[in-house]
Symmetry: C2
Subunit: 313 residues, 2 copies
């Protein structure tokens, strides 16, 4: 079933304790759509500036499974650019610079042909913009959004309004803590679910919260219970940038590929999160999309099987 | 099959951000044996001083499944006492005081009737003492040891000698990092396994390393692969003291109860570690042994089933 992502395409500069890479392709929608493309078609909605390198555009358009009709080029604007530096533990990072470019302008235009999208992922941006984009998909069966500390701090009301309109929220543990003031990831997510979820069994309101814990895995807090997954025990960590968006791409790609009528069943979500975990584990092995670029479906199937064997009891 | 633990019995003082408890029963052998007692008989070898409260002795002797003939009372000595204060995150702690008492004297005497023990757990103490205790169990099928930063720093040679005589090592992630200088838990454990493990298929040498990551779960690095388990997603964390020893007690108790001829099979170890995880999740719900005291087998079975449902994909 038709999957769509709205988000950013960026030009990243990444510094790690042992290496660095300048002006590489990044952005939430980029990582998401490439990860999701392994599971079926994905529609991409994002804006770039006139400075967007033709090689990057060619790369994205080279994916048959990515529908780039929603890739809007604004000749007189600049592409979003971001620089980040990872600390020794590779688990936390400091922002070196942010040049908003097109992100400071109007949100990308959603092509009319995308209006029938069923599975919607609103990658991290201002929650007001996310809500506006969401309204373009009246036939959706599942809407999931990501958010970040900036919006929790500066646009809380809009974020709360958004949470009442979506089915699932994906956020980092420290963001869940910031949002709720609760130190425990389960307690924090449960608070969000209780405050913005409909009654159990109701179709309205938030149905699940995914708490991402980076190298420590993820949790799904759901009306029917909890799912807990470790990260894939990776030894090769070159660049964690985009891991969260790749996780979301794997999760949503899997759900859309199943075409499940009830994609919010906890059992289904747990399997989907495992797929997201596997996709993220590949992504961190290289800068930018370099690992996803060469990834084969057989490698995904193999690692998924390995991962299941590592965790199933 | 006969399970034995050698370790400490202590009188603890624990301070957490929200509460505290003074002069409570603690010690590695205490937590281990009470946890293991849910799975079958366990032999306890540890020394206490003349100051050991009769109520504590009565408590331990009250367990039919705990064979306390190895509980040595030294009337003129003092019981090991330890005080610790947990930081805000409940994941790290500072030592307030350590009064070694009997721990500064000769190791506890192993009763001759315990010589036929098959499953041996050497709880954390000086590796030279652990090796000496190990030699009391010539008929062992499985020997597992715990260690800590103190011995890695001060008795490395003895620790290395011990590692060549045991089957499994259990240690915290930061200890694995300290021991190997490797920042990645998988890489660190793999280095220990490679340096002290026999060849694949060989009966000699270390067969597995369990890396404990506290609230982030555990990993088993094994010649045949890796197991990765999240912690049980607990919301009620009153006192993490003894969680590692309770984990080990559940793990070893499970293995001994299965009486497996090949207890070092990765599949078996992963199930055992899941049982350890569940036991630890109960222990942290109260100070000292207060939760394990009231715990019922049916509660363990229920939570084990829940945990499997949370993680299986």
């Amino acid at each position: 079933m038709a999957l769509i992502v709205t988000g950013t395409i960026g030009i990243d500069t990444v510094v790690t304790p042992t290496s660095s890479a300048e002006k590489i392709l990044g952005g939430s929608a980029t990582y998401f759509s490439v990860a999701a493309s392994f599971f079926g078609k994905v529609r991409l909605v994002a804006a770039v500036g006139g400075d967007f390198p033709p090689s990057f555009a060619k790369f994205l358009k080279g994916y048959k499974a990515i529908d780039t009709r929603g890739l809007e080029v604004r000749p007189n604007s600049k592409t979003f650019a971001w620089g980040g530096k990872y600390r020794e533990d590779m688990n936390s990072r400091d922002t070196l610079f942010t040049e908003l470019g097109v992100l400071a302008e109007a949100p990308p235009v959603v092509p009319g042909t995308f209006a029938d999208s069923k599975f919607v992922f609103l990658a991290n941006t201002h929650p007001g913009v996310q809500a506006q984009l969401l309204s373009s998909f009246p036939k959706r069966t599942l809407a999931v959004a990501d958010t970040m500390d900036l919006w929790i701090n500066t646009a809380r009301k809009e974020l709360e309004a958004l949470l009442r309109q979506i089915d699932g929220l994906v956020l980092n543990y420290d963001e869940a803590e910031l949002f709720t003031g609760k130190k425990n990831p389960v307690t924090a997510a449960r608070h969000i679910l209780n405050d913005f979820g409909g009654a159990k069994g109701s179709k309205k309101g938030l149905k699940f919260v995914v708490v991402k814990k980076g190298e420590h895995g993820s949790l799904i807090i759901h009306h029917d219970g909890i799912a807990a997954l470790p990260a894939y025990p990776a030894e090769k960590v070159v660049d964690p940038t985009g891991a969260g968006d790749t996780f979301a791409g794997g999760l949503m790609g899997y759900l859309a590929s199943k075409g499940a009528r009830t994609p919010t069943k906890l059992d289904t979500l747990r399997k989907a999160a495992a797929m997201g975990t596997v996709m993220a584990s590949f992504n961190i092995e290289a800068f930018s999309l370099d690992r996803l670029k060469t990834l084969k479906k057989a490698e995904i199937a193999k690692r998924s099987k390995q991962f299941a064997k590592m965790i199933n009891v």
